[in-house]
Amino acid sequence: MTTLDHPGNPTRIKPTFLGRMHEWIATADHKKLGVMYVTTGLIFFLIGGLEATMMRWQLAVPGSTLLSPSDFNRLFTMHGTTMVFLVGMPILLGVANYFVPLQIGARDLAFPRLNAFGFWLFFFGGLLLYFSYFGAQGLYGMGSAPDVGWFAYAPLTERTYSRGHSTDYWILGLLVSSFGSIATGINLITTILTMRCRGMTLMKMPLLVWLMLIDAVLIMIAMPPLAAAQVMLLFDRLLGAHFFDVQGGGSAILWQNLFWFFGHPEVYILILPAFAYVSEIIPVFCRKVIFGYPLMVAATVSIGFISLGVWVHHLFALGLSPMVNTIFMGSTMLIAIPTGIKMFNWVGTMVGGKIRFDTPMLFSTGFLALFLIGGLTGIMLSVVPFDWQVSDSYFVVGHFHYVLFGGLVFSIFAAIYYWFPKVTGRMMNEALGKWQFWLLFLGFNLTFGPMHVSGMLGMPRRIYTYHADRGWDLWNLLSSIGVLVQIAGVAFFVWNVIHSLRKGREAGADPWDAWTLEWSTASPPPDYNFEEIPEVYSRRPLWDIKHPDDPDWKYE
C-alpha cells in the first residue's frame, strides 16, 4: 500500500495557486465537480441556517420586534428556496457525480463537459438569486430579496402585488440553476444506462446507483414543468401576459397545480438520495447484505411513479371537489407503502447484524428514527379533514423538517462521514463526530418537535410574530433554544472537517471494510478512477474478492 505524501496528484509538480484555480475552473472531472457541488451546497447550508436562526430569534418570544415583517418574509422565502434548490439539489447531484461512476466501474460521466456546464449553471444561478439582496429594486430604491415564499403563489407574484424585481430574481435564479440540474440529471441517466462495467447487470447495481437513476428520471420529468410555469410567470411580469393574472382571467389555482406538480416530485427527488446513502451505509456497518434487494428496487421504482400523482395533497385546503380530494388522499397514502417497505428492509438489515456504531451508522440510525416520525405525520396530513385542521400551520413545518432535515440532512452527514476518507484520503474524527451527532439530534428534536404542538394549537406558519395570550410561548421558546444546540452541533462539524483535512488519520483505500467498487481504488482516487476497468460477478464485488471461499455470486 502506497503512502500519500500529499493527497491529490502525487506525480505532478505542486501547482501554483492560480494554476490550481484554473484546474478547478476548467475541470471536467466528475470527482472534482462532485467536490465542488458538495462544498457549494454546504456553504449555502450555512447561509440558509443563518436565515433560519434569525427567524427563530425573532419568534423566540411573543411580540418581538427584532425583524420587520418584510424582512421576515424575505428570510423565510430565501431560507426555503436556498435549502431546497441550493443545498439539497447540489449535494445530491454532487454525491451522485462522485460515486455513481466509481460504483459502476466507469472513468467519468457520459458527458463530462456537459457535467461541468451543469455545475456552473447551478453555481451562477445561486449567485444570481442571492444578488437580489443587492440588485432587486425595492420600493425605496433599496435592494431586496424575494418575499413571496418558496412556492411563490399567484397572484401575489404578479406585477401589481410584487413591485420591483425581487420575484424576477427568484424566477431567473431558479431557472438558470434548474437548467443545470436537468442537464446533470440527463447525464446521470445516460451514464448509468450505458457505462456500467462488464458484469454489472441492472440487478447487480449498488442501490445508490438504482436510487440515483430513478432520482434523475424524476428530475428529468418534474423540473421542466417548473421551468415552463416560471417562464409563464415571467411573461406575466415582463411582457404583460395574463397566465396567472386573476383580473385578466388567469388562474391562481393553476399556478398551485403547476408548482406542486413539480413540488411533490421534488421532495422525493430530495429524499431518494437519502435512501441511497443509508442503503449503502447500513449493510456495511451491520456486516450483512441489504435485506430484500429486489424489493428495494421495486419500491424505488414505484415511489418514482406514485410521487408524480399525489401533488393535490398540497391543495387540500383549496376547496376542490370531495372526489378530487379523496382520490389524492388515496394516492398519497399509497406512497407510504413502498416507503414503509424500505423502512422495514433497513431495519431487517440491522436485525441480527454485528452493528458498529461509527458516526456514519449513528447518523443513519438517526435518519431512520426521524424519517419515521416525518413519514407518520405525513400520513396524518394525507387525511383530508385532519389536513384542513393543520394545513398552513406549524404542524406542516414540523412534518417537512422531520423528513427533510431529519431525513435528508442527517443522511447527508452520514454520507459525508462515510465517504470523506475516500474523497480526501483522511478519516474524520470519531469523537467530534459523536458530539456533532448527539447535539444535532437533541437540538433538532427540541426545535421541530414542539412545532407539532404549536401547530395543533393553531399557530399559522410564516407569521412574523404572535400575541402572548395564545399559549404558543413555551413551544416557540423551546424551538428557538433548540436552534442554539443545533448551531453547536454544526460548529462541531465545521471544526471536524477543517481538523480532519489537515490532521486526520490516513484512511487507506478501504477503511470500513466495504464491498462496492469505489473502495477498490486508492483514496483519493486517481483521475482515471481505475487503472483497469473492473469486472463484477455479484452485487458486492469486493466481498467476492475478500472471501473467495464464500462468494456472493453463488447465491444471487
Partner: protein
C-alpha cells in the same frame, strides 16, 4: 492480493451488461427529448385549460387566426416543416454511405425548408401584431398563443442554427462518414421539433379554434 478483473474459478462469465443498441449519445438525446416533451406538455396543458375561459372575449382565436393568418398559409408552412424531416433522413442516409456531396444537398434542403417555416411564422406574427394589434398582453388567448408558438419557433431557430453549423463544417470538408452518429442525433432533435409542431398545430389551430 487479487485483482478486480480476474474471473473467480467457477463463476459464470459475465455477459456484457450493456445493451449494444443504446449508446451514450442516443440515450442522452432521448432524455433531452423527454424533458422537452414535459416542458411543452406543461405549456400545452395550460393552453388547453384556458381555451374558452377568456373574460375579455375578443378577439377570439377564431377571429384572429382566420383574418390574418388565412389557415391555408399555416398549413402551407407546416408542410414545409414536416417534409424537412424527410430530407434530413435522406441526408443522414447519404452520409452513412459516405456520400458527402449528396449529404450536403439534402442537408441544405432541410435548412431551407426549415427557414421557410420560420419566415412564414414571422409573417404571421407581423400580420397579427402590426396589422391587427393583437399581442401577448391583449388577452389570455394572446398570452397562450404567443408563448406556445413562440417557444416552438425558438426551438426551430436553435435547430436551424445547429443544422447550419454542420453545413458550414461540411463545406469546410470536415464532415466524414464517421460522424454519421452525431449527425443522426441532431436529426432526432429535428424530428422532435417537427413532431411537436403537429401537436401544437392540432391544439392551437384546430381544437382551440
Amino acid at each position: 492480493m487479487s485483482t478486480l478483473n480476474a474471473q473467480p474459478v467457477g463463476a459464470p462469465t459475465p455477459p456484457d451488461a450493456l445493451p449494444q443498441t443504446l449508446n451514450s449519445g442516443k440515450c442522452g438525446m432521448l432524455c433531452l427529448i423527454a424533458s422537452e416533451i414535459t416542458f411543452f406538455g406543461t405549456l400545452l396543458a395550460v393552453y388547453l385549460f384556458y381555451i374558452g375561459k377568456d373574460p375579455v372575449g375578443t378577439p377570439t382565436p377564431a377571429e384572429m387566426l382566420d383574418v390574418s393568418v388565412a389557415p391555408l398559409k399555416v398549413v402551407f408552412n407546416s408542410i414545409f416543416l414536416l417534409t424537412s424531416s424527410i430530407w434530413i433522413t435522406l441526408a443522414v442516409r447519404q452520409l452513412a454511405r459516405g456520400n458527402i456531396k449528396a449529404f450536403a444537398v439534402w442537408w441544405l434542403l432541410t435548412i431551407l425548408f426549415g427557414l421557410e417555416f420560420l419566415v412564414g411564422t414571422g409573417f404571421e406574427w407581423y400580420g397579427l401584431i402590426a396589422e391587427q394589434g393583437f399581442t401577448i398582453r391583449t388577452n389570455l388567448f394572446g398570452s397562450g398563443f404567443y408563448t406556445v408558438v413562440g417557444f416552438h419557433a425558438a426551438h426551430v431557430t436553435i435547430g436551424l442554427f445547429l443544422l447550419s453549423l454542420v453545413f458550414v463544417l461540411t463545406c469546410l470538408g470536415k464532415m466524414h462518414q464517421r460522424h454519421t452518429e452525431k449527425v443522426e442525433l441532431l436529426s432526432w432533435y429535428w424530428h422532435f421539433v417537427d413532431g411537436i409542431w403537429i401537436v401544437v398545430f392540432t391544439i392551437v389551430y384546430i381544437i382551440g379554434h
